[in-house]
Amino acid sequence: MQRRVVFDGKLLPYLLVAPQLAVTLVFFFWPAAEAVYFSTQRQDAFGLSTVFVGFENFAAVFADPGYLHSFQVTAIFSVAVTLLAMLPALLLAVMADRVVRFASVYKTALMLPYAVAPAIAGVLWLFLFAPGIGIVANALKWLGIDWNYLLNGNQALLLVIVAAAWKQLSYNFLFFLAGLQAIPKSLLEAASIDGAGGFLRFRTIVLPLLSPTTFFLFVVDVVYAFFETFGVIHAVTGGGPSKATEILIYKVYYDGVVGLDLGGSSAQSVVLMIIVIALTAVQFRYVERRVHY
């Protein structure tokens, strides 16, 4: 897309793009290139020199059972977070689209988790579920359930999934609601004149019309679960117990920053980049643009 009418100017446009271009080059292209570069290098034990090792780091990463385990955890985590963030959001949006009274109250309140940082969302849920402290944890104990996410990996995974999905619920709700409100009422009226009942209308008209939104949210949620949930994991479980909640982004951080394995961590970064680019490309095929916060 282009404008027909533009301003003349030789130097000015370059001055105008310069700040963004500079930041992009220094903090985006340079690091991305470094990640690719370091993923093919190995540092010696003292970090003094590096040698080119080709795809060895990648081979090592994929041969590492810990990495494959992390892949598995990430898959479960992201699918669960996505479903748990989307389905209730859709239900709530459909309901919010129906009511007239208190509509703005519901909408405003359901918006709140959008403003909450993932790490804080983690802390909120941790406070409910901390064994011996949280009121939900205490209630579970009273019910005879042996709840201790600090020891039980499945419970830990469940907790971070719930916390992460809770935060993303708002976002999905807002988009579903906007999508629903964009459906022309005349279409639904035409369908009810044709005799379609409430659920039939929803299934045959609303859902198909909502599918671009759904698809968009699906990709956004998966990307969210992959990367932005780092805060939840770090604050609540630290990847544990015994790596039960170590998702890929946490492992990149852990191996690179804590373990100081530059080559391995860079190789993992490159793998992640490929995953995001693939996700983005898939999305572009269906939805024209994607913007990610």
Partner: protein
Amino acid sequence: MESRSGHLSWLPHLILVLGLALVGFPIYVTFVGSTMTTPEILSGHMSLIPGGHFVENYLAALTQGMPQLSGVPVARLMLNSLIMALSIALGKMLISFLSAYAIVFFRFPGRMVCFWMIFLTLMLPVEVRIVPTFQVTANLGLIDTYGGLAIPLIASATATLLFRQFFLTIPDELIEAARLDGAGPLRFLWDVLLPLSRTNLAALFVILFVYGWNQYLWPLLVTNTASMTTLVVGIKSMLTVDANTPWHLVMAMAILAMAPPAAVVLLMQRWFVKGLVDAEK
């Protein structure tokens, strides 16, 4: 649409109220916790009615040096968060507005290259390239500085694309009228385009402020001293493994960490919702 099944009209309200409870419960319990003492919280049967230590706890959190944070009070962390969030929001808006303006309103060699370079940044969130970005930032001596907290995060295509989309809807004749009136490109930018973009700017501000305030991994890496870290990151340091966690203060900090972005979202709701959905489409 209010359906014909009028006898079921309470059902949506019921579901929505359950939804509100789900969303509100963790926040409410945390708030209640922030008004109690830690022994009260740990008693095993914490009450769901706010306690009497609201002022005391928040005052302590804000002003007292926290041993877990090397003696830095929460007020300082809030200030850091605020500086980071504002720098990111305003910085992104500024550089994006200018670059979108150049890309839409000028023809120059390399224009499409610039566009695609910016566009590509859309694809890779900072988390993905975190370690090398950290190294670049370290090489530039930006560790433990506000510049290091904010600048690497202001490179993003989102705002640029949003502005570009909006700029493309400005009728050609408006530019021509301005040219006939004698306005050059910068005057047009200032006198016409900026006021016309008010709604977009407001919406973006909300989105970007929340984005900046809620950052976690980046400030965690790029700050080493407690006095430079942000509130969201600082909370984690309070959750020590031993039994000494001052839960009442942690809860107060959590509420303090939620309040500013929530206030921005609620106060600017009208623009935010429209802007969010527009920005992503």
